[in-house]
């Protein structure tokens, strides 16, 4: 399997050199192969979001290296990385432009990372494609192309954001707790859609989640971060046979100390 993403010895420290110095990432080494769907768990402050932000480029990299498809992207800005990396945020409001219509948002995503010119933003032939794509969401959105996104529900928006993230096949898709703000039923729908889109297009994906069961159920590899390091990294059969109690046991063995707060992890 070809390697898609390689993270070498990544360190991130906030408020470096002050009394509040906070070493969020302390040397992360990861290799992702094409088609890997990695779920990431860890308690608050373990460095999950920082890791994702570092890969996306919203946080400048202090130490270490990130290589995507053989290209060193460590110093590239967000807009350049957007050519190959797409992202779904936790807050449904974050992933779409609310005063633009559904089709306008999709059109924006179609051009992700490409040059934008004076051609019409929403093209006629695109509309058919958008309709087909929206129809597979089963949310009756295919006839609401000209509805402003702001008038849709959080679940609908998040489904559209997912679609936007995969419209132009990305080399890597980052999902940052993208179901955390949704009600349980919608959350399931969006997760199923996520799995469908990822498996259909054989995407390489990172999914941060607070939900241990989701982390175990979905994906082919599970990583648990603890205090800025990879604590657990399971793939293949090990991952398939995993249960929540087993995971907790593994984690406690690794850390060698009782979890201070199970509630945070199980929330």
């Amino acid at each position: 399997m070809p390697e898609v993403l390689k993270i070498k010895n990544l360190h991130q420290t906030f408020e470096r050199g002050t009394v509040n110095e906070n070493r969020v990432l302390r040397g992360i080494d990861l290799n992702l192969e094409a088609g890997d769907f990695v779920t990431i768990i860890g308690s608050n402050g373990a460095g999950k979001s920082t890791l994702l932000n570092s890969i996306a480029g919203t946080l400048p990299i202090q130490e270490g290296q990130i290589i995507l498809n053989g290209n060193d992207i460590t110093k590239l800005p967000v807009t350049k990385r957007a050519q190959n990396i797409s992202r779904v945020f936790q807050d449904p409001k974050m992933g779409t432009a609310v005063r633009l219509t559904v089709e306008e948002n999709l059109a924006l995503a179609m051009k992700r990372g490409q040059r934008r010119g004076f051609r019409p933003g929403v093209k006629k032939q695109d509309r058919k494609f958008f309709k087909k794509q929206l129809a597979q969401l089963n949310l009756n959105l295919e006839n609401r192309l000209e509805t402003e996104i702001g008038l849709l529900s959080g679940g609908q928006r998040q489904a559209i954001t997912l679609l936007m993230a995969t419209l132009q096949r990305p080399d890597l898709i980052l999902l940052d707790e993208h179901t955390a703000a949704l009600d349980p039923q919608t959350s399931i729908t969006v997760m199923q859609l996520t799995e469908k889109l990822i498996s259909e297009q054989h995407l390489t994906a990172f999914m941060v989640t607070h939900n241990m069961e989701d982390a175990i159920r979905y994906g082919n590899r599970l990583i648990m971060l603890h205090q800025g390091r990879v604590a657990i990294d399971l793939a293949g059969e090990d991952k398939q046979n995993l249960t929540v109690p087993k995971l907790m046991e593994l984690f406690q063995k690794h850390v060698g100390s009782e979890l201070e707060d199970d509630a945070i992890l199980l929330a």
Binding site: A56, T58, A82, F89, M94, A97, E104, L108, R112, G121
Partner: protein, 284 residues
């Protein structure tokens, strides 16, 4: 002008004080060009370009040098005062007496003076709106609207948000300078101090327009701005009918603005279709 202010205020979600500088700049450029014997239409175009440059400066100050937008606008506005003064060769106002303007061109079509102003004003306003509507539907236009709406999402989709902001500042101030150029030609003189209060007038027009009609597609929104601007003028004219002393004029227009800006707050709950039943403001 309201359109220009609208661009930054609503689409880019920024309050751009540059307006107060680019407005007289446009007037000065158009006037001086006409006096030099340049075709009035070209002179008006020159005013637009002057505004583009003013917007570029504010845009760079705001994005590249990371000065907050309000301050960046004030800085450009302050600097522009001297530049406008230079353009006008250090005179406080320059007359266009007896020169051809875009409005005398319309008069040559056989229209009366008043009709000429209305016709030309409408033609230019509609032209600007048409061009903007077309622009906002292009790929770049969409990207610009997304930038104002959700900068993080825009960046994640590979939009260069800084560049979009700068472009927005430029087009916005271009429109404002264009209106400055037109007003100077209508008044028959360029005035160094004509910029005072323009931003507020623009904002008032926007608010009136938004109270009147909501949730329109982008083209309709721009059209209602023209209506909003006219209504604001009408309200002002009504106030002045009531024998207001000339020295109190500014105070009167300030009060009109306060009313225009606050009224929508009291009417808002009624306009929300079947939405929040806010008893607070309906009780009175």
């Amino acid at each position: 002008m309201a359109i220009g202010v609208y661009l930054t205020f609503r689409i880019l979600d920024l309050a751009d004080m540059t307006a107060e500088g680019s407005f007289p700049l446009g007037g000065a450029i158009a006037t001086m060009c006409i006096i030099k014997g340049i075709n009035p239409i070209l002179a008006t175009g020159a005013a637009f370009i002057g505004g583009l440059i003013a917007g570029l400066v504010t845009g760079i100050l705001n994005t590249k040098l990371r000065i907050p937008s309000l301050l960046a606008g004030i800085i450009t506005m302050t600097g522009l005062y001297s530049i406008t003064s230079r353009v006008m060769q250090n005179a406080a106002n320059v007359s266009l007496l007896g020169k051809d303007t875009v409005f005398t061109i319309a008069q040559n079509w056989g229209l009366s003076r008043n009709n000429a102003v209305i016709a030309m004003g409408l033609i230019i306003a509609l032209l600007v709106i048409f061009l903007l509507v077309v622009f906002f539907k292009t790929e770049i236009g969409l990207a610009m609207r997304a930038t104002g709406d959700n900068p993080q999402m825009s960046a994640a989709n590979g939009i260069k948000t800084q560049g979009m902001k700068i472009l927005g500042y430029m087009i916005s101030n271009g429109c404002i300078a264009l209106s400055g150029g037109l007003l100077a030609q209508n008044n028959g003189f360029a005035d160094l101090n004509s910029g005072v209060g323009t931003l507020v007038i623009g904002l008032a027009s926007i608010i009136i327009a938004e109270v009147l009609i909501r949730n329109l597609p982008i083209g309709g929104r721009l059209l209602t701005l023209v209506v909003g601007a006219i209504i604001y003028r009408l309200i002002l004219a009504l106030v002045f009918q009531m024998n207001v002393e000339p020295s109190d004029a500014k105070l009167a227009s300030a009060l009109v603005l306060v009313v225009c800006l606050t009224l929508p707050n009291f009417h808002l709950p009624h306009n929300l279709k079947g939405g929040k039943k806010d008893a607070g403001s309906t009780k009175n």
